[in-house]
């Protein structure tokens, strides 16, 4: 049985107590499931205190203590992975910078999108020589593996503009959606209930939570038949308490969260979906799920969202300010034909991101790397 070793930063929380549930982690689960289905033994490494955990019925995750992450690389983890993984047939660097400073011969790294476009990053990395050093390490990390999977085209554009020699290294494999689980509710025009707007993301600044809250207040005050549903957790309990209190003060604004298994039903009961990301975005799984569910999507024009949404064809792309968001939502509230047309086309275009197609592309890639 061939053996694949995958290294990441945090599939589980660093304490090992519980799993992290984000888009990248869902990607990791699906990748592992597929590799096992085609006959691979899969083992993971990540940052931690030395614990060992497992998921998907016996897939082991080993953790490695990491002392530092100089200019956003994890050389400690990379070195420990290379010492401990041993004779692997295929190494997968689940985050691009983990392929620094060394890589296994048969290896793939994955870019989940540009993560250096948020304003805090500028300060976090430091200026001058630190930024230059980050760029040097990024180039090294992208140059090492045989192939670099990019979930979007903007990362390829950014990297190859700076380093043209990497053009042949990238493979564009956009993210996936299970179009059988996520599907429309088979209903026509809404007459009998309120129009529902969904924000299905984490409550974070980069996902546009503040702008969406502002939009919810404005739109619900203007349109008595519109309600907003914020469905997602925060990184901090304080934020969740604040959201609950805020929602309670507003009629037709709701805040709650649901387990992943219930999300298809949540989407099916909505009409409009907000993905107003401001930065650090790839080809968002939430966006794909909303599209597959036939919702009219309003998305920020950042990261890989432009690979999913073509403005005015299958959704709306906006500069994710509160004002622009209000304008776009208002249009969809008022123009029912537009809303329904965008939703239908979103569903049709989501079929191009079906899980089966994603698996086939990964299959072609692994064949290429192993040849």
């Amino acid at each position: 049985m061939p053996r694949a070793a995958i290294v990441t930063t945090s599939h589980f929380h660093a304490s090992g107590q519980h799993g992290v549930y984000g888009g990248a982690e869902r990607y990791g689960v699906e990748l592992t499931r597929w590799l096992r289905a085609i006959g691979w033994k899969v083992v993971w490494w990540q940052i931690g205190t030395g614990w060992t955990a497992s998921f998907l019925d016996g897939v082991l995750v080993y953790s490695v203590p990491v002392r530092s992450s100089f200019v956003q690389t994890c050389a400690d983890l990379n070195r420990a992975f290379h010492e401990q993984a041993g004779a692997v047939d295929l190494a997968i660097y689940f985050v691009t910078y983990l392929a620094y400073p060394q890589v296994f011969e048969r290896s793939i790294s994955i870019s989940h999108g540009i993560y250096w476009d948020y304003p805090f990053w500028e300060n976090r990395i430091g200026g001058g020589e630190l930024r230059t050093e980050w760029l040097r390490r990024m180039e090294a990390a992208l140059s090492g593996p045989r192939k670099v999977v990019s979930v979007d085209t903007v990362t390829i554009a950014w990297a190859t503009a700076r380093w043209p020699h990497l053009a042949g290294r990238f493979v564009y494999i956009p993210n996936f959606v299970d179009v059988t689980r996520f599907h429309p509710a088979h209903r026509g025009r809404q007459e009998s209930r309120n129009l529902r707007v969904l924000f299905p993301r984490r409550l974070t600044s980069v996902r546009g939570i503040a702008e969406s809250m502002h939009a919810a207040e404005v739109i619900t005050s203007r349109f008595p038949h519109v309600e907003f549903h914020f469905v997602g957790r925060s990184h901090a309990p304080d934020h969740e308490r604040h959201m609950l209190a805020w929602a309670a003060r507003h009629a037709r604004i709701f805040y709650y969260w649901r387990p992943p298994s219930n999300m298809p039903m949540v989407y099916r009961n909505m009409d409009i979906c907000l993905i107003p990301s401001k930065s650090t975005e790839g080809t968002s799984l939430s966006c794909l799920e909303a599209m597959a569910s036939g919702l009219a999507v309003v998305a920020g024009r950042v990261g890989g969202l432009g690979d999913l949404i073509t403005h005015e064809y299958n959704g709306l792309l906006v500069y994710p300010s509160a004002g622009r968001l209000v304008e776009a939502i208002e249009r969809l509230v008022v123009e029912e034909d537009l809303r329904l047309r965008l939703g239908e086309r979103a569903r049709a275009s989501a079929m191009a991101f079906a899980l089966s197609r994603w698996r086939r592309r990964w299959g072609d890639l692994v064949d290429t790397v192993m040849a």
């Binding site: 540009i114 700076r162 792309l317």
Partner: protein
């Protein structure tokens, strides 16, 4: 009422000596943009580098040329200075790329971003001689060209993402105005047939990816009798004899002038530009007739394509291009669906919407400058 005046600074519409270029793509765009400015209430005037002549682009729309003896790293400071001296009092100055806006801009100013600026893109092979410090100087000038004008209008989401991932503070300056289809002559009847036609309509130059298209033609036509390759772009005289010899030994590979109906019948339209702005107006026109774009993951064409739904995003190397073409050839129903969706997508990029977007931005720029 006196018309508002807009002056547009470009690198090259006509040749330096004032003659009409072999490839009329830029002239076609300039005529369309002049008409757009006219409808927005502006009289347009154009300036470029050349041997000090004046020509008429359209009735009442002149193009002036100024000799610049001081080109440096893609900038033309002499031309920039002449433009500023002659047009500084106009309502708006519009710079066709960021390096033309270096070192100074007029009071009311807009810069266009139609590609990711790179030393190679602006300087060609001369960029190979740049030291690291000179490259840094190049990007410093690009930054000035983006930061100094009042507004930046990008025709592609990649360009915005590139800029804000490089210089975080610029995001508020950008407006996104995707191109619209170029007018196409009407085609008599429906073209096409049983064969899948791969069409290469760009100039037959390496930077447009002609070599990879030729290699793919070799592979695909040898493997599949139901395919043909048609090259319709202009070729420089120096390569024509080689091209004729190459064609003479191939079946179902042709080079001929463009003809009405080229894009009918759902051909694959190969847009493989490696460097330089993509020919988006032409690509959208092709989509509007049902042409299926096969495009690089870099540049604004990726905005129009949802990979596998209305076109294909492919690394423009023959090794990846040929299998992609064969996959479409093998599935006629998918080909019909791609073509149908391409036509629907192109309809979202009407000239009317393009002009409305521009009218809004022109007004914003005028208000910002107090003009």
């Amino acid at each position: 009422m006196l018309k508002k005046k807009a002056a547009v600074l470009v690198r090259k519409l006509y040749e330096r000596n004032g003659s009409v270029p072999d490839d009329g793509y830029e002239l076609e765009w300039a005529a369309a943009f002049s008409a757009c400015l006219e409808r927005a209430g502006y009289s347009a005037e154009w300036w470029q580098e050349g041997e000090t002549w004046t020509r008429e682009l359209l009735p009442g729309v002149t193009v002036h040329s100024v000799t610049d003896g001081t080109p440096s790293m893609g900038t033309l400071p002499g031309l920039n200075q002449a433009f500023w001296e002659n047009c500084g009092s106009y309502t708006l100055g519009i710079y066709a790329d960021p390096l033309l806006a270096y070192p100074q801009v007029t009071d009311g100013s807009i810069v266009l971003l139609g590609d990711i600026p790179t030393p190679a893109g602006f300087m060609g092979p001369a960029a190979d001689s740049l030291t690291r410090e000179q490259q840094e100087e190049f990007y410093r000038r690009v930054f000035m060209g983006l930061a100094c004008p009042g507004l930046v209008v990008a025709s592609g989401l990649h360009y915005i993402q590139w800029a804000i991932s490089t210089w975080h503070g610029l995001s508020h300056k950008f407006s996104y105005i995707p191109d619209c289809p170029a007018p196409l002559p009407a085609a008599p009847g429906g073209a096409g047939g049983d064969r899948l036609r791969a069409l290469f309509s760009a100039p037959l130059l390496p930077r447009h990816g002609v070599s990879d298209a030729m290699r793919a033609a070799d592979v695909v036509t040898a493997r599949r009798q139901d395919t043909e390759f048609v090259f319709t772009g202009w070729a420089p005289p120096s390569i024509r004899p080689h091209l004729q010899r190459w064609l003479a030994t191939r079946e179902r590979v042709y080079w001929r002038p463009p003809a009405p109906g080229d894009f009918d019948g759902g051909p694959l339209v190969l847009c493989l530009a490696g460097t330089g702005p993509p020919r988006a107006r032409e690509a959208l026109a092709a989509m509007g007739r049902g042409g299926i774009l096969v495009a690089s993951p870099r540049g604004s064409l990726a905005d129009f394509i949802i990979d596998g739904h209305n076109g294909l995003v492919v690394n423009p190397a023959a090794g990846e291009l040929a299998p992609a073409i064969e996959r479409v050839a093998a599935r006629p129903s998918w080909r019909r669906s791609l073509s149908h969706n391409a036509r629907l997508t192109a309809a979202s990029y009407s000239q009317q919407r393009w002009e409305e977007n521009w009218a809004r931005v022109l007004e914003q720029a005028r208000m910002t400058s107090g003009g």
